[in-house]
């Protein structure tokens, strides 16, 4: 039966009860402009790092909102801090600083400060 070709997909429901909001809260506290983001994706369209690799800052921000700390980890390391994302942002979100704050939050989580 196992080779029949059908498997049961993992449910794609997002369980907000399991969301780890530590990174989100840290970012919101230290870079409140995160609240202004409308997830339009302009930042991702212009991204220097996104030109070389699969890096999507909009997705990163969505992971933060959904509290998916593991997924955030490797993504946040790809940013070059070049700053194009904040220049094109129609809402004035300081994307560059969000990345810095995410990295800070991750370091703090690792050292159990957060």
């Amino acid at each position: 039966m196992s080779k029949f070709g059908f498997t049961i997909n993992k449910p794609r429901v997002i369980d907000y009860d399991l969301a780890d909001k530590r990174v989100l809260n840290y970012v919101l506290k230290n870079e409140p402009s995160f609240n202004l983001c409308i997830f339009c994706g302009s930042c991702t369209a212009t991204c220097s790092a996104g030109n070389f690799t699969d890096f999507n800052i909009r997705k990163l921000k969505m992971f933060i909102r959904r509290g998916l700390v593991e997924e955030i980890g490797t993504e946040a390391d790809k940013c070059m801090l070049c700053g194009k994302c904040f220049l094109v942002c129609p809402r004035g979100v300081n994307n560059r600083n969000i990345v810095l704050k995410v990295r800070e939050a991750l370091t703090k989580i690792e050292s159990h400060e957060l």
Partner: protein, 609 residues
Amino acid sequence: MNYSHFVLPFTIGLIVLLAYMLVRFGVWIYKLDSDDKQRILKNIFSIKSLQAIKEIFTESLLHRNIFKTNKVLGYMHMSLAFGWLLLIIGGHIQTWIFYDRLSNPIYIPIFFEYFVHNKAGMLFGEVLTFTMDLILLFILTGVALAYFKRFYSKLFGMKKTTNLKLGDKFALASLWLIFPLRLLAESTAASLHNTGGFLTQNFGNFISGLIPVSFFEPVFWWAYSISLGVFFLSLPFSRYMHIPTELLLIALRKWGVKSKETFDAFADVELHACSRCGICIDPCQMSSTGISKKTPASYFLKSVRDKETNSYDALNCLMCGRCEDKCPVGITTTNQRLAQRINLANERQGDFSYLKDLNYQIKTDVVYFAGCMSHLTPGITRSMIKIFRKAKVNYWFMDEDGSACCGRPQKLAGNLEAMKQLMDFNKKRIVESGAKTIVTSCPICYKVFSEDYKLEIEVLHHTQYLNRLVEQKLLPVQADSKKVVYHDPCELGRGAGIYDEPRKLLTHVATLVATKHEKQDSLCCGGSLGNLEIEAANRSLIAKDVVDELSKPNPDVIATACPLCKKTFIKVSSVQVLDIAELIAMSIPEKNEKSGERKKITVLQEELV
């Protein structure tokens, strides 16, 4: 009678202070790295030490740089510093002549009027008494101005003056009292013994009618000595530590020790040489626009000194360098802030291993690196391509399809490790291309290419490169009657010292009009990548101020040489903002092939924008 107990506070204070300074200076020099020590050894017995003494005289005593900022402020500092030194020298000369020997207790020259009651027969006695009174009067005018400055700082060309901490208050109070008390002590002594000059004698005679001078004379001498002692003892804990430290700083600088981006002993000397005079407060645009009162260098350096720095304050600065340019002591405030950013940087700085897969095989003469910011202002890159083609240059547009960042933003965030990764990647590509010149359109990239990459090829900003093309007649340009003002980008001007090429270039194609803030004094557009914390609305606030200032001569075009400045200005400017490259590209006379006539410049402009 050459001793009295009242000299003790002064003598103890002075000896403790001198011992403390000796230890402190010794530790600082010991902590310098070995290269710096070598430099000191090499230069200490050379003309450089004489130059250091000259600079100490002009800066620490005459305060020439403060005079440049404001004459009254300069006079105040000069009268106190230079006047005090003259008073000490005068006291010693009096003592040497009177006692006819060179070695005397250290307190005698200071309290000369207390110990000497009969100057009859003393060589130059009258002249010296007169001179000493004159110097005291000179200092007292400075003290009066200092009182006045506390309450009315605008007279000194400063809108704001610094706040004080406890050690400062002790030192300031005692410093304010020293010279008035000296006047009182010498005057009472003069009225008792008739030994005073025009100031002390007359003032002494005047107060002898008001108070019992024979009772008050020792009181005033005690008070004078205590105020000196308190000043000396509180000096290491106050901002007046800058007085001795500045001497060491000037000497170290002359001996060839240079400021680094990481925090070392020299940076610590600089830190303590900051007098917190507050001259950096008014030029700071973060402060003058009311965005952040804590940003000015004097407050930041204070927080570093008190070990109270946090990453928000370190990152909330435009890094424009206006404070560094204005600092009368010449403290490298930008490096100071960078050093703190590096100290506070997160260990997690990014991983760019994904960059390694790319492989380019291109041989060229000139590498053109537009920079990330230029990709957001396509007018600049298009103009540069047009110019390269027109001048028939064999060029390679290195980041045509987007680029890895140059690394400067990483550095400004304190992430040196991440910066190195990006630099290694870009450097390999540049070297492999075999180019002799790299041209960049972005001053941010220019700074990092020329300072950190250690490239063996020529690094040029496009204004330098275009100026060369135009002057060598490789690029034909047509002058125009447009009225243009030029905005110096921070990284290109104060950051890299390029002021003349852009201006020369502009005079070839337009009429350049001066503005209030030129060259070193130019303002920051507010877009700076150096500030990681500032909100977008506040960036526009700064940009609006600057555009208003630049628009005052009613220009047709605001020209700049930085894509980031252009992008920031465009949002708030009603005047057209163009990069110099765009202006040059527009002024290339182009023949219409069919009719043989020159195309109108306005048509070209539409093509570009």
